[in-house]
């Protein structure tokens, strides 16, 4: 049997999901969300900055929050030092006495405990979170607060990009984040979000308290909270122009650790406490499409990688074996003119091209709707050639961790 056939179902699923995203992007609710103006009403807001050993970035994070275009008397920044062992406490003291800043120091208990401590220390109507390695655009808060003009909305997410990407891996993540902007915006329009990410997600304080505050959530407290909100039947929105920039891991090792935590957290949450959401009509697109597809995506990501690796290696070995003994200049360098006749247009290659083209389209859309400045060209190139090769690394690691019951430390 031709091994390419094994890849077809996964490629069909990828095309189907990308088509669904594009169709939903063009639908009325998404168009209305894009047309939504920044808020003119300004409820009281508190932004919690949970920090553990973030001495190098927490000051810039705090300053970007203080530069937000929002009435100063309505905005509070709560810096929570979660038992840092570096210079984070000293850096935070630079903001002591600032009328908008509240500093809390506590023993290390994990990010969810830092968030809960921050929320407990404020009385703001809306509470948000900003990881201490992230920075916001001045107009982003007004964009997010605008989402809460709909009384059914209890949480809202922002549009994330990578902060000053430098190497190829960070550029790849930047393109992926741009894809995420489109995805989040589109799924939010049909209430299909299952993560309210650490960088600049906001909640109605009353709902967070009603739901019992943040939990450990298998090291993915932002996902756990979003799933709990969905389980309770509330609505999560997205503000596509609320730009926030976050530091992305610069090394493959760091990236694999981060994503292993995300993916294993997702599997543990979704197959554990939130299993009831899957294939549940009551939860609409989230239960019937988003969550099943996300689970299937983990399986298909690994399977597709396996099939593609096998086909690639088979072709390389065959190509090398017939070229043994032939001069390099003839065997490995292009010769002759381009001839359409020899264009390798197989079903497998054209389906991959279709998936990739749709992905690039979604990346570009994300960039445009968020109005993120700068070019994404290098990000798209690195995404095209690198992403498919690195994703399986953390998918395999995360699934084996879950299967073997292995739990890793947040930072190892």
């Amino acid at each position: 049997m031709n091994a390419e056939i094994l890849a077809y179902p996964f490629l069909f699923i990828a095309i189907y999901i990308e088509s669904f995203i594009l169709v939903t992007f063009l639908s009325k609710p998404a168009r209305a969300a894009r047309a939504r103006l920044a808020t003119t009403v300004t409820p009281s807001v508190a932004v919690i900055v949970p920090s553990f050993n973030e001495a190098s970035t927490v000051e810039a994070t705090c300053r970007s929050l203080l530069a937000l275009d929002y009435p100063a008397d309505k905005l509070k920044v709560v810096l929570v030092d979660d038992g840092s062992t570096d210079a984070t406490p000293e850096v935070m003291t630079r903001f002591e006495g600032h009328p908008q800043v509240l500093i809390i120091r506590k023993e290390n208990g994990g990010k969810h405990t830092a968030l809960n401590a921050g929320i407990a220390a404020t009385t703001a109507e809306l509470v948000g979170c900003l990881d201490a390695d992230s920075f916001v655009e001045p107009d982003s808060l007004k964009e997010i607060v605008g989402c809460f003009e709909d009384p059914e909305v209890v949480a809202a997410t922002a549009a994330m990009s990578v902060h000053t990407p430098k190497n190829i891996l960070q550029h790849m993540q930047n393109a992926e984040y741009s894809f995420g902007i489109t995805l989040r915006h589109t799924f939010a329009s049909v209430n299909g979000l299952y993560v309210t990410p650490g960088p600049f997600s906001f909640y109605r304080r009353s709902i967070v308290e009603k739901l019992g505050g943040f939990r450990y959530g298998h090291q993915t407290e932002d996902m756990e909270m979003a799933l709990r909100i969905q389980q309770a039947g509330y609505k999560i929105e997205n503000a596509p122009r609320a730009r926030v920039y976050t530091k992305a891991p610069p090394t493959l090792r760091g990236l694999i650790k981060q994503r292993t935590r995300w993916v294993s957290g997702f599997i543990r949450n979704i197959l554990g406490e939130y299993r009831g959401l899957i294939i549940n009509k009551r939860h609409g697109v989230l239960g019937m499409l988003v969550l099943p597809t996300a689970l299937l995506g983990i399986i298909s990501g690994m399977m597709l990688f396996g099939v593609m690796l096998y086909l690639f290696m088979k072709n390389v070995i065959e190509a090398l074996s017939v070229r043994v003994g032939i001069p390099f200049s003839y065997a490995f360098l292009p010769h002759g003119n381009f001839d359409w006749y020899y264009f390798p247009a197989t079903f497998y290659i054209l389906l991959i091209a279709a998936v990739l083209t749709a992905s690039i389209t979604l990346i570009v859309i994300g960039r445009r709707i968020s109005k993120t400045p700068g070019t994404i060209a290098f990000g798209i190139v690195s995404y095209t050639f690198l992403y498919g090769m690195v994703v399986p690394l953390w998918l395999i690691r995360a699934t084996s961790d879950v299967a073997l019951g292995k739990r890793r430390n947040w930072r190892t």
Binding site: F12, I15, Y16, I17, S19, F20, L22, V23, T24, S27, K28, P29, V190, G284, V285, M288, L289, E318, S321, V322, R323, V324, G325, I326, P327, Y330, A331, H335, Y341, Y342, F343, A345, T346, F347, L350, L351, A354
Partner: protein, 221 residues
């Protein structure tokens, strides 16, 4: 119908249309390939007949046909490459591929015979290689041997390589196999009349060519 259900249906429809379009495009491309092969084959048949006629007309001075013969061999080689690619894409049991392979083999045999006649009449010594392969899965070294011969043909434009599928059901080919006394031990080569079996390296193949008989630039025969 809810918005989500409607969008899910539209997405499903788009997926079907896209997959169908891809399948149609591949089919269209393959049909265009076969059409191009047919066109080359038709042209080759005419050229071959023309050469044979020319050869008969110029019985007193047959060497006038040498240039045409060389050009024809080069076109034949290109036809062979395209046919081989089409065979990979469409499968070796595709009816049109099999028919074209038979036509190609016949053209090769005719070209081989003309080359031999011209060589005798014009006192030139072309290097000819009859190469027999099988793609029935019983010849491990055939791909390597085929690639090495392609390299030699591209390097020495005057070298005349004729490739034949040993298992092709074609009377003329089976007669050629019989008169050349080639056994079913593939890959097999007949280099200027000398039979050899198994994979031969570039050096071993080049060693079989008469010294100085091949040049790396194009010339007549």
């Amino acid at each position: 119908m809810s918005l989500v259900a409607r969008n899910a249906l539209i997405a499903f429809f788009i997926t079907l249309v896209l997959a169908g379009t891809v399948a149609y495009a591949i089919n269209y491309l393959n049909r265009a390939r076969v059409a191009e092969l047919l066109e080359i084959e038709n042209q080759l048949s005419i050229d071959m007949l023309s050469l044979e006629t020319q050869f008969s007309l110029l019985e007193a001075e047959p060497c006038e046909s040498v240039a045409s013969s060389t050009t024809l061999t080069s076109v034949l080689a290109d036809f062979g490459s395209r046919l081989s690619y089409a065979e990979n894409e469409l499968g070796s049991d595709n009816e049109q591929v099999v028919r074209l392979k038979k036509q190609y083999s016949l053209l090769e045999i005719r070209d081989y015979l003309i080359t031999k006649k011209l060589a005798a009449a014009c006192n030139v010594k072309p290097v000819t290689v009859l190469y027999f392969y099988s793609n029935a899965g019983d010849c491990e070294d055939c791909d390597r041997a085929g690639y090495a011969l392609s390299y030699l043909r591209d390097t020495y434009p005057t070298l005349r390589v004729y490739s034949f599928d040993y298992n092709l059901d074609l009377g003329a080919l089976q007669t050629l196999i019989s008169v050349s006394k080639v056994e079913n031990d593939l890959p097999a080569f007949v280099i200027n009349g000398k039979r050899m079996y198994g994979y031969l390296s570039l050096e071993e193949l080049e060693k079989q060519f008469p010294k100085g008989a091949l040049s790396t630039t194009t010339s007549v025969i």
